[in-house]
């Protein structure tokens, strides 16, 4: 709790919101409780907002206490971030077991969240709670508020057009569950976000609503301070690297959007193809009912087409459930990242404005005023956080898309393999020769001619009868060299 001196790995349990000043509440007039407000995430030490006595591993003081942000502390930040890529996983979160709840006022789905952790922040090694989409939404908002310098992963779409999509269908719920699971896992993997207060509560609290209500009181104050900071400043120019990121995200989102549309179009075409296939197969069955010898092969063809249809249906289902949602998720991600970039711009703008104001005042101060320093700090922290997150995001993106595109290729390959298998399995049936299986013939009982050959069976000994390519290999006429007596005519 606030005020308690940290010992190595200080602080356990959730902090009261009252003790947590808003990180951006940096202007002098809004000095919140708890002294210095700059958040200094620290992997090895539990983070505690506004904890003055936070000690960094290199012995330095938290950034922003006195002098301009020391480069060493920034370096620490980056170092710490690198460390998380090591194999030291100490937090595992899973989303599963969706259940429908029917109440008088509404019907909704909850998901079970299972947490396993050895971290000190967690009182118990294991937790299991139930949450609904609303709760996830709340969590995300809280994260955005409390960690504005970081990229918060996206949630699956909130609003679903009723009547078009069934909110309680198995496919929809499963798709959503996967997305929510992804969301929590991304937070879990993040070196800063995973230590977030709200995240912890979300994972552990029995009654989340009570906790939510606590926060409401503070909301207005917090909201205002945010507005205060992020309004009104115009950035002259984005630094090159952030401009590059912005451009990249623009193009990226655009291309993903196109891919999403193409994928949807493909699925639509495949479904229409499926409809025709489902009519095509049965016609062979109808035909088979008219025939004698051909009945079995025709029936076989019909069944084969049926199998191909089923395989295609599986393919389109997979694409809809696994491919499209990931594309959409990344589009949403890009959008939220662009807004973080804008916030960063705001912070920089504020700093530059204040700097200019000071310069214009032409006072003899040897020192830069404290509030300008704080602005600079804020800006540099923001930049650092953002750059680190971008790197992480790029790496995750590469992995996610690799998996996605390979999955798409694999599913398609499986589809073709299933079709191949279906067709190959009926080849023996088609080649089968019941005793009297003949190619179409002309003639009477004395002589018979295969329709495809231009010579009658019984060519001159030594000469090659000419057989057309179209004569089936099972044609008895052509395989018999001597005259017709051996050939049976039904």
């Amino acid at each position: 709790m606030s005020g308690g001196p940290p010992k190595g790995l200080p602080s356990t349990g959730p902090h009261s919101l009252l003790d947590m000043p808003h990180p951006l509440a940096g202007s002098s007039s809004e000095e919140a409780v708890g002294g210095d407000s700059t958040p200094s995430p620290d992997l090895l030490m539990a983070r505690s907002f506004g904890d003055k006595d936070l000690i960094l591993p290199n012995g330095g003081t938290p950034a922003g206490t006195s002098s301009p942000a020391s480069s060493s502390s920034l370096l620490n930040r980056l170092q710490l971030d690198d460390d998380i890529d090591g194999e030291t996983r100490d937090l595992f979160v899973t989303v599963d077991d969706p259940k429908k709840h029917v109440c008088t006022m509404e019907t909704y789905i909850t998901y079970r969240i299972t947490t396993k952790s050895t971290r000190v922040e967690f009182d118990l090694p294991e937790y299991s709670v139930r949450r609904r989409y609303q709760d996830f939404d709340w969590l995300r908002n809280k994260l955005e508020e409390s960690q504005p310098t970081h990229l918060i992963p996206p949630l699956p779409e909130k609003f679903v057009v009723k009547g078009v999509v069934d909110r309680f269908s198995e496919e929809f719920v499963e798709t959503r569950r996967k997305a929510l699971d992804k969301f929590l896992k991304r937070i879990t993997d993040h070196p800063v976000l995973s230590f977030n207060e709200h995240f912890n509560v979300f994972l552990t609290a029995k009654d989340l609503n009570a906790y939510k209500r606590q926060g409401m009181a503070l909301l207005s104050r917090v909201g205002e301070s945010v507005k205060h900071v992020t309004g009104g400043y115009k950035l002259r120019s984005r630094p090159l690297e952030f401009a590059a990121i912005g451009d990249y995200l623009d193009t990226f989102a655009l291309k993903l959007g196109t891919i999403d549309r193409i994928a949807q179009r493909i699925i639509k075409e495949e479904i229409e193809y499926l409809v025709e296939l489902r009519e095509y197969g049965p016609v062979y069955s109808t035909w088979s009912a008219l025939e004698g010898e051909l009945a079995e092969p025709l029936e076989g063809v019909s069944a084969c087409i049926g199998n191909c249809s089923t395989a295609l249906e599986e393919l389109t289902d997979d694409m809809t459930e696994d491919f499209l949602p990931v594309l959409r998720e990344y589009i949403l991600y890009s959008d939220s990242m662009k807004s973080v970039l804008k916030k960063r711009d705001q912070v920089q703008a504020e700093y530059e404005a204040k700097l200019e104001a000071v310069a214009l005042r032409k006072e003899d101060r040897p020192k830069v005023p404290a509030d300008v320093e704080k602005c600079q700090d804020r800006m540099e922290c923001f930049n650092a956080d953002l750059k680190a997150d971008m790197e992480r995001w790029q790496s995750n993106k590469r992995q996610d898309f690799r998996q996605l595109l390979m999955g798409m290729a694999d599913k398609n390959i499986q589809y073709y393999e299933k079709c191949l298998m279906a067709w190959e399995s009926i080849i023996p049936l088609l080649q089968e020769k019941p005793e009297a299986k003949l190619a179409p013939i002309w003639g009477n009982e004395e002589t018979t001619w295969c329709l495809f050959t231009t010579t009658v069976i019984g060519g001159q000994p030594g000469s090659q009868p000419r057989i057309s390519k179209r004569c089936p290999s099972s044609c008895v006429h052509c395989s018999i060299v001597h005259n017709s007596q051996d050939v049976e005519i039904t």
């Binding site: 193009t251 495949e270 193809y273 009519e279 035909w287 001619w449 057309s468």
Partner: protein, 416 residues
Amino acid sequence: MEQAPPDLERQWQPAPLEPLGHTDAGLQAAVGEEAEGSRDEVPGDGTMTENNFGLKKIEISVSEAEKRTGRNAMNMQETYTAYLIETRSVEHTDGQSVLTDSLWRRYSEFELLRNYLLVYYPHIVVPPLPEKRAEFVWHKLSADNMDPDFVERRRIGLENFLLRVASHPILCRDKIFYLFLTQEGNWKETVNETGFQLKADSRLKALNATFRVKNPDKRFTELKHYSDELQSVISHLLRVRARVADRLYGVYKVHGNYGRVFSEWSAIEKEMGDGLQSAGHHMDVYASSIDDILEDEEHYADQLKEYLFYAEALRAVCRKHELMQYDLEMAAQDLASKKQQCEELATGTVRTFSLKGMTTKLFGQETPEQREARIKVLEEQINEGEQQLKSKNLEGREFKFGPMLRNALARCNPVK
């Protein structure tokens, strides 16, 4: 090459509608004779030549197609495709083939040949021609008769047609067919001179017979039903197949859109760039692979169409039989009534109501001379009628027991 030995001359007559002049024997024997006749010409080791122009084996091929322009009947310029028919005779001894005839024919001439064969050999299921116009098309496939793929498939179909006619023991001996392969100029006139168009049965007559025939042969009825159902199911199949091809084409082509966007995306990526570029390329390859796939499938469709037309030809034979049966029944009926009339006149009893009876009552009986005269006329008519009936019966038998038809009927026994 016209080295017809004398005894072949007789065989060059177009097979007439009347029986082959052996009224006492069924056609079975006649066919037997024919077959034996041909066997006699052949070396005694049992070799058979069905392409029996002379003693040599004949190879027929439709080897080329060419676009031509000319003037049509109304003196307007038109473009059409001509096909090169080459005939080779194969020497027995060394198996080498020598080009004996080659000429150009267009589709309409093939049609003329087939129509002629249909009229002169009504009891034979005449092999079908490839379709006149591209039907069962899906959107990409050109319905244009000048399209090279269409022309190529038509060439194959025409070749199959000629090979099948040449393989048929009866059709292959037809002189008009022989001239089709050997005489380029003037052939059309020769065909038309046979007057076959006049001999063709009218559709209306055939329809009438279908409804009015009293004792249709059960086997023919079954055959008719089978061919109807076959036609219907194959048409359905072809229609759905065309739609399936259309949709499949769409699926592949939309994948092509991935090509461009992956390429554009790869431009902004560092590590992922190469992979995405490659993926885009493969999407393009995938999208273009559908053209060959569907072109191959067209050959399958062509074979289905072949049997669709075969079913039609089969149906035509059944129709002809119904017509003949109907004629037979009419003739028999007519004969029966004449006989009765005759009897009545002879015995003087009037059993049925007739105009003669009425007039007799009204105007008095006729003189014995008059009666004699009328009896005589009737007796003549009865004789004629009996002859006719006999010949019709024979026709019917010839029809039924014609060589290939017997097999077709036998195969039509319900196996279900």
